[in-house]
Point group: C2
Amino acid sequence: MNLILLFDDDFTDDPKRVRLTGRRLRHVQDIHRAAVGSTLAVGCVNGALGTGDILSIEKNVLEMAVTLDDSPPPPLPLTLILALPRPKVLNRVIIAATSMGVKRLVLLNAVRVEKSFWQSPRLSDENLLAQRVLGLEQAKDTRMPEILLKKRFKPFVEDELTALTAGTLKLAAHPYDAVPCPVNVAAPTTLVVGPEGGFIPYEMEKLKEVGFQAVSMGARILRVESAIPALLSRLFPL
Amino acid sequence: MNLILLFDDDFTDDPKRVRLTGRRLRHVQDIHRAAVGSTLAVGCVNGALGTGDILSIEKNVLEMAVTLDDSPPPPLPLTLILALPRPKVLNRVIIAATSMGVKRLVLLNAVRVEKSFWQSPRLSDENLLAQRVLGLEQAKDTRMPEILLKKRFKPFVEDELTALTAGTLKLAAHPYDAVPCPVNVAAPTTLVVGPEGGFIPYEMEKLKEVGFQAVSMGARILRVESAIPALLSRLFPL
């Protein structure tokens, strides 16, 4: 937690006073080992960054005076569309994408996505929010990404994808019939990443019909949690 | 497992016949659902890639006829020096680095590496080998990376690092006094990545004394398992 993300409910009647309990309080106590007078990095969800000066800290509650006067880092101009990863890696993938600045993440079905993945409790609103909070706290960001769940590939690609990606560079990470992944594109982009084992040819055809170009990262096949940072780091300038 | 990595012990007296048991057999049975006549991607550790045709498959053993006639993907011209990550992420970091083509990985102490990390059973020879095998199988590679454990920062940097990194571009991922991480360097490189919380100023001074330049990936702080793919993907051409 490189930043403590604050929500409306954390503020007292005084808009510069915050009370923390629960996970964030324990982190401040156990990891930061902060005390009265310590200053912590804070940020308001979808708002400004700043600092919090600890006024009091007890076993179950902490009070801070916050100053919010800095901007969060710029978002990536990217919609990331990801074949739903297996539950075991889903949390890490959401954290990785959020920490790198993705602001719209679509989790999509595909033939090689096991049906059971859609039943995972990790797809609950509560868990999807918790992982995004961890990603924002990691990257000292405040802008909450949007996550869309799309359980049907064909209607999504045929009926929604064109409007969703209008005016963007459309790339699909897929090693066949592909050009090398471009470096430092300066344009709004939509990137599609397939499941373990890849998209089937029919799925790639559907994506190509709506304007997607296959791009390759070379001969090595990467796990999705490595592929996403590798792709985003090549695509966007620092 | 995109490739089944073969070791000397797997071969029968016939140099083109292989017997598999244990983890790899179970994977072929449960994930590939392969049968007699199926062809699998195989590779010989530190040797060639090829295919294996299943001749027989029983509950506890499988026999294949292998043809080994292809080259593994080129390695990255990189030595990666990493402050020892916490045990919980160590396996994933080794898999990520191996799958991206790192062939020399140094795990180094630093002030912000907790002492207990060095006691982790994950540092056993057996586990370090198992994780590298997973990384090679993931990336369809055969060349086993070397892992060096360096428990003392100062003697390593002062006495060994200069010789180890002779003739390489020397970069340290560190956000202060840094230049942006370069793209597509065409040179042998040594990259140092610090611990959670970063190197302390003394450690960065020592690295600079032996020729390291700080490079930044921007304002966002990434987890080490995301930072490594992001850095390597920027540094090396596809």
